[in-house]
């Protein structure tokens, strides 16, 4: 039996080249076609290499990049043309400026992602149909597997990072057995989709660049389920592998090189023939030497999510904070210099100059304006070099020399605290992320409620997506999906739901259960289970003066108290109080 073996590695590149030379020497008699076939299959077999796949997965979202403030500033001035740069900057800053990450995680945390589903437009008769409960259970199973709460949490964070993200819900439902095989949502690579229109289902129509499959190492159409399947046939007719037997003369411009080294010829004539009837209305173009084959994805299969619903630019909404956070590292560097060498005192004097146009130059201590400029330059040079040395001397002809001590000089911690506070204030999150020891409870609560509302478009889109899935499954009844919740409003909502239920508003039940983290069908199941288990019969009420003395209480007997016979008082409350007062007074007299 073949046992799986752990992946080994060569000790050096020399060893690898040696192994390749050995292979080539052993099989040098093989014709070129056989060599090519073996090479292609071997390349495909290592596409599943964990390192390669790990790199592919990391690049589903835009890859982080460290960039200069100048590059960031240039990108923020031109966001429509620099979407990818801005996304990369946002990801990069999360690794260099923790407060920037903190803002993102705070947005993720303020919403609590409660949800429930319910049937719409039922009458008293149709509500009794068995299919209602059956479909309710099926959709509850689907929700449970899809985990809309966890998905919304993830999407909210990604929308803060990238502006918009695109997801493909994948699920398999067996209606005849009322079962769900799998249900989850998969992210579409950010750098390979574009918003190209609007639609009534998922709001934005998007296109996908199929050359992703050719140029990203380890990418495969199967990684997207059947999403890309309809386009593969046309795509493979346009991007044709160049075989050694082909008699095609091609220029380097009309070809694409795969990561495996295989070159594909871009057949423009074939594309012209296909274009009219091709799946996904493909667009083929070459931009800066790179080929792209864009296809329109089905609106009901790809769902864009966004926080800011006014812009179509797929760039982070936090881009206005980039410069502030990019310079936090610079401020920390300066603060370190100040900490090592605080500027506590400085010796000042007057550099007097004479008027060059006057003939009287007798005052030799005075400088010419040019000489003054020279000494000034020396002064600034000295300040720059003294930054790390502590004490420095500056020789210049000066009058009225005197030492100034700087008692309120900016400390290193002051500098970083102020810069950090400024950046957080700018983000509008100072109510939630403390920047000093003076938080105001009122403004914090309002800020929290506002931030809860801010990510509402994600809830809206999640509702649309789940209801679209319900429709695609083909349920007999119409079902709704609702998502809500925030860490401040939840407590008030729970109280309102409780009051609503007490007032007989039955629809509050759904929301109440969602706030408690269980679905209506969970509640039914748990309640049935608890009732059938018999555990309720074992619940013994607490011993009170009433229950303990009832004949049928079922409690063990206990000694009778002659002063307290139990049960309802025989006298009126006023009489009892009057007598009680006298009794207490007599007890006090006795000294009991």
């Amino acid at each position: 039996m073949n046992k799986p073996t752990a992946s080994a590695a060569y000790g050096s590149f020399g060893e690898y080249f040696g192994a390749m030379r050995e292979l080539m020497a052993r099989y040098d008699a093989l014709p070129a076609d056989n060599l090519y076939a073996a090479w292609s299959r071997a390349t495909a077999s290592v596409a599943a290499n964990p390192w390669m796949q790990n790199n592919r997965v990391k690049r589903i979202s835009t890859f982080p990049r460290d960039m200069t403030k100048e590059t960031i500033a240039e990108a923020t001035r031109n966001p429509d043309e620099r979407e990818k740069t801005l996304r990369a900057a946002a990801h990069g800053l999360e690794w260099t400026a923790f407060p920037f990450r903190k803002i993102r995680t705070t947005y993720q945390a303020v919403n609590t992602d409660r949800y429930y589903h319910y049937p719409a437009y039922l009458t008293a008769e149709t509500a009794k149909e068995k299919t209602v409960m059956r479909e309710g259970v099926l959709l509850d199973k689907l929700n449970h597997m899809m985990q809309p709460g966890a998905l919304a949490h993830q999407i909210r964070g990604q929308c803060v990072q990238e502006g918009k993200v695109f997801y493909q819900p994948r699920y398999s439902v067996d209606k005849s057995h009322n079962a769900v095989k799998y249900a989850y949502a998969q992210q579409i690579p950010s750098d390979w989709v574009k918003i190209v229109g609007f639609n009534s289902e998922s709001k934005y129509t998007v296109m996908f660049d199929m050359t992703y499959l050719l140029t990203v190492p380890g990418a495969d159409w199967r990684q997207f389920g059947d999403l890309l399947l309809p386009y593969l046939e046309d795509f493979s007719q346009v991007f044709v592998p160049v075989e050694s037997t082909d008699k095609i003369a091609f220029s380097s411009l009309n070809s694409v090189c795969q990561p495996s080294g295989r070159r594909l010829f871009v057949d423009l004539e074939q594309f012209d023939k296909l274009r009219a009837n091709a799946e996904g209305d493909p667009k083929l173009w070459n931009r800066n030497g790179r080929w792209a084959y864009w296809v329109t994805l089905p609106p009901e299969k790809v769902w864009p999510f966004e926080i800011d619903d006014t812009t179509r630019t797929v760039a982070p909404m936090t881009s206005g904070l980039f410069i502030s956070f990019a310079q936090i590292a610079d401020v920390e560097n300066i603060a370190l210099s100040v900490m090592q060498n605080p500027l506590v005192s400085i010796c000042l004097g007057e550099l007097e100059t004479f008027n060059e146009r006057q003939a009287d130059n007798g005052e030799v201590i005075k400088l010419s304006p040019t000489a003054r400029d020279y000494f000034l330059m020396q002064w600034f040079n000295m300040l720059a070099s003294a930054n790390a040395t502590g004490i420095s001397f500056f020789g210049a002809p000066m009058r009225n020399l005197h030492m100034e001590t700087l008692p309120s000089v900016t400390g290193s911690s002051d500098m970083t605290t102020k810069e950090y506070g400024y950046a957080i204030l700018k983000s509008g999150m100072s109510g939630l992320i403390p920047i000093n020891s003076d938080p105001r409870a009122g403004s914090v609560e309002i800020a929290a409620k506002l931030e809860e509302r801010m990510c509402r478009p994600i809830y809206d889109q999640m509702e649309r997506m789940m209801e679209s899935i319900y429709r695609q499954i083909g349920t007999k009844h119409e079902w709704r999906f609702r998502m809500f919740g925030g860490f401040v409003s939840d407590a008030q909502d729970l109280e309102n739901c409780r009051k609503g239920m007490q007032s007989g508003i039955l629809s509050e039940t759904m929301k109440y259960l969602a706030l408690r983290g269980i679905s209506f069908w969970d509640d039914l199941g748990i309640s049935n289970f608890v009732a059938a288990s018999g555990i309720l019969n074992l619940r013994i009420p607490m011993v009170t003066s009433y229950s303990a003395n009832q004949e049928k209480s079922g409690l063990p007997p206990r000694p009778q108290d002659p002063d307290n016979t139990g049960g309802r008082p025989e006298k009126g409350i006023e009489d009892a109080l009057a007598e009680g007062g006298e009794q207490q007074e007599s007890d006090l007299d006795r000294g009991d």
Partner: protein
């Protein structure tokens, strides 16, 4: 690793931290994986470049590759090991297939 591209720019637009650049008195070439430099024009026809520039470009490409190899040595050597094993098996399969074809 991002894709590197070659740009022609005005010398005064050369950025401070540009790792690969070729500068003459009148023009400047930049080889970068970042955003296109300011007022730049991408050069795709590398074959038309003078020999000295091609030599510089070769050095840039070698430096990029060396850096990538150094940063990912362990993973690449593991990958290379898996690949040569797979290639050896596939070459052997092709050899046996060719032998069978010859006997038939």
């Amino acid at each position: 690793m991002e894709q590197y591209r070659l740009y022609a720019i005005q010398p005064q637009n050369l950025r401070d931290q540009e790792p690969f650049f070729y500068r003459t008195s009148r023009a400047c070439l930049v080889y970068t994986d970042g955003e296109p430099p300011k007022e730049s024009r991408e050069i795709t026809q590398v074959s038309a470049l003078p020999a000295a520039v091609k030599e510089w470009l070769d050095e840039c490409i070698t430096a990029v590759r060396e850096r990538f190899l150094a940063e990912n040595e362990r993973e690449i050597l593991t990958f290379a090991h898996d690949f040569t094993k797979a290639l050896g098996a596939e070459l052997e399969a092709e050899r046996q297939k060719m032998e069978r074809d010859q006997h038939e």
